[in-house]
Symmetry: D2
Subunit: 473 residues, 4 copies
């Protein structure tokens, strides 16, 4: 399960709205719905047509914003961002949207994703005299826009975007317009919606639901949308490559009530669980899922296998950033955090434990142990995705290859390490077919790099993993 990772490094979420008198407040609610995509920092930049008004801070959405502060930056358009947490905490300067001032007009950017040619572009820009105040890839885009030789902002932005390689879902705000762009591979999700006459964009559709907006369509790979007081125009900054949306968005990252590219996340996960039960037959008494992201797959597994679904463990909802970690001493005495087993459910039972993925294996070992201590006679681990053997360069921080348990061990070795009675992974085909995308002229519509090692873009020799950026600085 990716919870171990998610607690350290998460992706980001973006939101934007143009043409609504309550744009700033609605962005606040939109960010609230995207909170699971990043808890380190949150920000909004709005505009009243005169200036760009920033408000951001470290922490959760509810910590950063107050009614008074939001009132101060009221505007008819706004973009927002939630930022993933990094181990070291890189400080307020990296909290987005980034805002760039200029005598010829200002510019704010919210960005989700990771560029693979950021190092090259930075070096290039620095040699021309650019200086960087953040360690964020987003700043590269701003410099490229500014330096572009084209005449209009629109042309400058398209030119700059065409130079980026990797994953990026961006919303750009100026005093006159909001711009939306998605990388040519469509690696990250980005949706377009309407709320009355206002245009809305968000990483996930759950942010549309919270503000009452209607889903219009997904932003297409390579697309560049321009939204002004005169309405919306769709252009392109690049020919779309083969669509390669991140599989992990379906498997564990997005909220179950979101539709990613028209496919509901809960429904897809349930199908993955059904498929798992088709691929493997295990005799057991109960099926349970690691909360929260594996519940849907566990229900599907139970439905298909006929083995009853039970709440085998529950998550402590109140373990947040201010939770006092137990000392090593107390941990050894058995003080639990986050997950508690439901003793009466698992005691004396053969348990099928459904999880969404295994990264380093430490969490899986801990959960198997938890269930066994609670009296489970057998624990069979079934994973609703294939083994992760390769690092991700597109924004999900799943460690370096050296840390990935599946990169260095056979499945049998992994089973032994985590202490399970059996260990099963979903097949790549089983996963792809059951997520159920039908991208015309595309192999499968997904980026499968972390499973297969086939990256949809070039990976440059000095491409930097998200979690390594801190060290660069």
């Amino acid at each position: 399960m990716l919870a171990e990772i998610r607690s350290l490094n998460e992706e980001c979420g973006v939101f934007g709205i143009w043409g609504h008198p309550n744009a700033t407040q609605l962005t606040y609610y939109g960010l609230h719905a995207l909170q699971h995509r990043g808890q380190e920092g949150a920000g909004i930049v709005s505009t009243d047509g005169e200036a760009l008004l920033p408000l951001k801070g470290e922490g959760m959405v509810s910590e950063v914003f107050t009614p008074e502060k939001i009132e101060k930056i009221a505007g008819h358009a706004a973009i927002g961002h939630v930022r993933y947490a990094t181990a070291g905490g890189s400080g307020i300067e990296n909290v987005q949207p980034l805002l760039f001032n200029s005598t010829t007009g200002s510019l704010a950017i919210s960005h989700n994703g990771n560029l693979v040619n950021a190092t090259q572009l930075k070096g290039h820009l620095e040699r021309q005299g650019s200086i960087f105040q953040t360690t964020s890839d987003t700043e590269v885009l701003a410099h490229l826009i500014k330096r572009s030789g084209y005449a209009t902002f629109e042309e400058k932005a398209k030119n700059a975007l065409s130079l980026l390689k990797g994953a990026f879902a961006c919303v750009i705000l100026t005093e006159e317009a909001m711009y939306i762009a998605l990388d040519p591979n469509g690696l990250r999700p980005l949706s377009l919606g309407k709320l009355g006459d206002a245009w809305v964009t968000a990483s996930e559709t759950c942010a549309f639901d919270i503000v009452g907006a209607e889903f219009v369509r997904s932003v297409e790979p390579g697309e560049f949308l321009i939204i002004t007081k005169d309405g919306m125009r769709a252009e392109r900054f690049a020919y779309p490559a083969e669509r390669s949306i991140c599989t992990m968005e379906y498997v564990y990252f997005s909220r179950p009530d979101s539709d990613i590219d028209g496919i509901n996340v809960h429904a897809a996960r349930k199908r993955l669980g059904v498929q798992l039960a088709k691929e493997v037959q295990i005799e057991a008494d109960v099926v349970t899922g690691v909360p929260d992201s594996s519940i849907s797959a566990a229900i599907g597994y139970s439905e298909q296998s006929g083995i009853p679904y039970e709440l085998g463990m529950i998550k402590n909802r109140y373990v947040g950033r201010t939770f006092i970690q137990p000392s090593q001493d107390l941990r050894e005495q058995g003080v639990k955090m986050k997950l508690s087993p439901v003793r009466q459910v698992v005691k004396g039972k053969r348990v099928i434990m459904v999880d969404d993925s295994i990264v380093r294996g430490t969490t899986s070992r801990r959960i198997v142990n938890l269930l066994k201590e609670a009296g489970a006679t057998e624990v069979h681990v079934v994973i609703s995705s294939p083994p992760i053997k390769n690092p991700c360069f597109y924004g999900i921080d799943i460690s370096t290859a050296g840390e990935l348990i599946a990169a260095n061990n056979t499945i049998e070795e992994m089973r032994e390490i985590i202490g399970a009675d059996s260990l099963t992974f979903l097949s790549v085909d089983g996963m792809v077919q059951n997520i159920g995308r039908t991208d015309p002229g595309s192999k499968c519509g997904h980026c499968l790099a972390c499973f297969t090692g086939e990256y949809p873009t070039n990976i440059y020799p000095d491409t930097v993993l998200p979690h390594e950026k801190e060290k660069v600085k």
Copy 2:
């Protein structure tokens, strides 16, 4: 569903531990596990054998305590309390444990429950010269102990406890001993456990699991346990009445991983769902449960009926106390809070929506509406408990009779009010038999007062409901 109530008024949770070098820290973790029982305030009083050391504050456990503060009150014994939220917020003075100083020894009390003769006792005590600094029933107990004519603390406490009528699960701490007491009807749950040589008590066993303690047994009605450095002795302050544990602890209040009197809460709820599906046959496409407390019943219903269980709505985990409520204006535009429907799951479907209870009906109406707006063609509401027609005087604040929708309407009228296509309640017998208690010589082992109006104790003319206490002051 009782979420509407729970967000305003909840019960409390108590915890105590005697004889462990990390007693204070372990109490912190125990209170963490009981956080769902009260979020208004939290406190710990510990002892190092020399003095009673208090630490308390308004807010959540993680807001009140810091490592430094906990370190300062380190002791070998400690009791703790989480307090339910009240609409007005009655301030720090009511946060427990209450601490009473005296030149002849101090005394701290954590208390869960509500007394039905508090007004009488207070009047009596005031006429003798007592003054009250809180609006809490707990203070009455302290005065009664102090005034008792008996010679030893033990005798004084037993004498005082014998005068109380109603619901009370108490832990008392002095420099020399920890005392545990449960009302003669056993209206509230209270468990006894061991962690190595240390004795532990808690409202729910989930607090044992988090600290690694083992469940020993339930505290019995009318029991008075004395724990000192010489070990534990069990005595009685009253003959036990017929056991009448609150049904709602099973139906919605406790954590699913807790065992209440030896019965697992999740398992009981699932059985209620199974029974529901036996009592009513509805043709539908999907079963869904109102998160979090109705998930188990929904799974049981699905299992029994064969209709697939789906995540029909999800709860926004991040809507906490600092969430900025949308203005009326924005609410009308569709800004949602707390619950989001999963559109693709319910659209065009006949939905069975399982909930644990209906109090005023407003929340049910809102959820039915949510599902219909999301495209459900039919919404059938099935409730895993009988209609609530009477107020609770024992600590769960379910409004006055005037506000209870079931007290004033037929089921058909209720169905119309909440806008459902059908509305079904579980039968009283179906509920009692499936929770599955087997109390020898007892009618059913439960307090069913809110359903049947038969209160297990006298109700005095001036008995005060929990939510009315604020006004008294």
Copy 3:
């Protein structure tokens, strides 16, 4: 100088107002003016005629109150309190005003002072069944009122007050009236004022100035004032003893802009400085005062002696509760706090350093050292009060006799300990005559106990010093 003490233990301040639509807000401003009298906690209890509404917390006035919170307890009458800081921090329960609820009417008390018979009274009350939730003397008064056999609240209160021995300046609030009382020796200051039709009372007149109230007169020893909607009546609960107002209020404790019993504090301090220069002749180049409380005396000394007054050291205004204390290591390297010498002013100069008092001597030694390191060739310490040889039982916490440097050393020994070139104290007569009270039929109008050992009241064998109360608990 008493700064060392003041930083640990200070007296308290009380404020009350009756009959003004903005009573709560005005109390906030009044407490602001009294902030120097206590920084550990602050509280207000107001009334709208229906109930007593409390609001209190630990910390400074500006930390405890917000506009929203104040708005919530708006009333036409209010009493407030600032509490002195104690080393250990005894927690929120001791923050005043204390509020006592009762079915026959509530009662709130703000109290400045210390009782000498509190232990006796507590023992007596406990034997009758009273229990105590705070370690404050104030609670004793509430119990005595409650237990009094008299018929009316007024008679009960007068009866209770007549049993108290020691120092107390009290304001009591009920829904119907505000009561003001001062101990028979008038040990602590208490003033009465008017703001339009509203009656106001405060420990110091600087609180009248901030709200625009006019000084009417001092509350007299033994007086009991009753203020209701029908106006003010003055009664007595005791025959006044010889007036014995605390000398230290003039010497260092009160704000220089306050008038204590009609005598301005700054003016009195300046006269003490003038007198000092008459009592001792020292050849020197500059006069300087330890900020803030000794500035007035230093100016007086300079004026009389003709030696120019200079800013020889300045106080760091920003060293507050959140200041990070330098490690021992850094302190030894010279990191300063609180006071910085003004090098160019003292370098190569013979300096007269005026301070208000010496308690343990540690601070004086530190300041003398500071000036010498900054280049002063001679440092002559002159103190604007006599040597403190005895503890105070009336509310100013000047340590036990064992810690008082003057109780155990000759002046020459003290001079050597603090490293000064000379050390001079003001004579008792010089002090008394120059504060300038003219109490008819009174020896001097002052309590001089800390200097002379003659206590104006009985001191009981088990009288507890303020700073020892923490330990009792």
Copy 4:
């Protein structure tokens, strides 16, 4: 008096230390001593030789830093900054030191002052492709360094500094060195000191005293100091122009215990007071000074005139950022803030009120009124500087000419506006001679622009006043 201004817009303070194991902590203490120079924000960037480690935030020094946070950025060198408060609050991005990352080495800058050619330089840089993330002049310097064609960092920095016009006192930190620079006119103060083997720099010497460092010398106009592990080298980036240090640093801005260019501030202010008493003879009973900055001058005036110095008003120390402003209603009823008159001192007296300056006149009018209401029969205002008739472009925000009372009124008109019985300003010559600089080959060593309109540098047509920067953005 400039208090009205200071509360809105203040200058900044810089600090730097190289070569000390506790560099970060010592910077914290240094910033503490400079807190009066800016209360909006504070920051430290330190280095351990490997990377530049930032820590900054909005608010006071004691709010921004905690021991844990400081520990995390421990280093052997550090620079710090306190930022002046602006009305609107321009947000975290402008809090210094600014940090610029680059693949070829990072760079942090602390800057005090205001450039007069910032708009030109920004336009120039933007046309070359630079983008700006702050509204601070400091960012201009970073861009110029980065773009400079010279080979070494040293040469780049000198080249960049030589392009700046206006006031700037800068400290620059890289992983390898600390650089110190002062503008060619020496408009702002900057001192150099040593603490053992470590080099220290600060805006004022009071920051040396707090850390125990010794003053070595002032940084000279046009100087560029390079400090590395090999020691300190002094170079120049420009020929020094005529020294023109800001007069206001002596008159009201700096702390009295600081020496600015070898002249103690308190001593200089006292001489200004002496000179005032020579320039004007007024018959009066008492002399009083507006706290805190005018106390020294008032003492000097008293000494020279023989009229006794008194504490005529006192400042409320606890009115900080969280103080609840009284409503208009309460203000009209007389609720005071900040200053309270000492009634007994001024009642029935002819008062000489010494202040350091008059800007808009509103505060002076309020204070005169305060004294008259308190009973002063006459109030004579004497100002220890000449009339301010021109705006400042070098960092002290004294409004535009339109708001300056002295720019638009005769002294008699001003007297009438503020309601004084007489109004006297110090002569320019009297001020300059008594501050007492003796700069060889310089007219007077001071910038007198705000008094005389003679600016020591060119003022460009689009030079932006500090308080107008917010609007630009």
